[in-house]
Symmetry: C2
Subunit: 134 residues, 2 copies
DNA sequence: TTGACTAATGTAATAACATCACATACGAAC
DNA sequence: GTTCGTATGTGATGTTATTACATTAGTCAA
């Protein structure tokens, strides 16, 4: 499984909702948006989100309990590196970037300490450029 | 406000609970532990946690909704740098470290993108050395 | 075609995490 | 002692996520 068109109905609905939104959405916000599509329960959303996370098509922002569509959907180059997120606390915009230096440095630490990493979260909250000039 | 002995009663109780524990605790776990000390409601815990976070005496682990006592309580050297956490998903142990290279690299990114950071989260989940040999 | 298996879905209930709103108490400054 | 800020007590509510169980739909082989 890899491409968008192979998603199930619910997965597509959830993924489309996240793609339409230009910022992170909470699971319950997605649920509300999809009620007209027949969604009734949180689990319908969470199950789809789990799969989409598996497929690497979306990300979970731990610090705000929300989800975003991956902004580099066709770029698998950073899929094994760490992804960092800058989250604007004013407008909600999320910028995704990956940095080899940080990735390498984290890997050094884990190697040096015998720690086997499974998932690494890097989230910077603050005010984005447009919001601080506005 | 800076030192432990200036904490209020509730703040001390919460801080002590976190210090006794040798791993992260959720707010509700703390609440349960402090019922015999008169705690009745979540807010009593959350208010204390907020202050302790302000004072830099504890940290919040965003990825697991839990709190830990700072492991470098007398070391203010890294208090303006970023702190990273390695969280063992097996035993719950949390190792706290700060890395100037990562800190610098994040600062570079934020400067370069006009992003004003307020709080940065770095959390590595995985299996710690003792758990992977055991 | 039937049966067996697997993946996806539907639904209700509940658990886990966090905040709001309002009342009361306490200490310091005047 | 009044005023003011901080801390506290308490119930209700809001938000996020999971458990448990039933049902549906597709695949594949006998």
């Amino acid at each position: 499984m890899a491409a968008t068109q192979e998603l199930t109905k619910n997965q597509s609905l959830v993924f489309d909702a996240l793609t339409r939104a230009d910022g992170p959405l909470s699971a319950y916000t997605i649920l509300d948006q999809l009620r007209e599509n027949g969604f009734r329960a949180p689990l319908q959303v969470y199950r789809a989100l789990d799969k989409l996370l598996d497929y690497g098509m979306i990300h979970r922002l731990e610090s705000i309990n929300a989800f975003v569509a991956c902004s580099h959907p066709h770029d698998h180059s950073h899929s094994h590196g760490m992804i960092a997120f800058a989250i604007c606390e004013k407008c909600g915009q999320v910028t995704e970037f990956s940095d080899e230096v940080i990735t390498a440095r984290v890997r050094e630490w884990t190697k040096g300490n015998g720690f086997k990493p499974s998932k690494t979260t890097i989230e910077i909250r603050g005010i984005c450029a447009s919001c601080s000039t506005a």
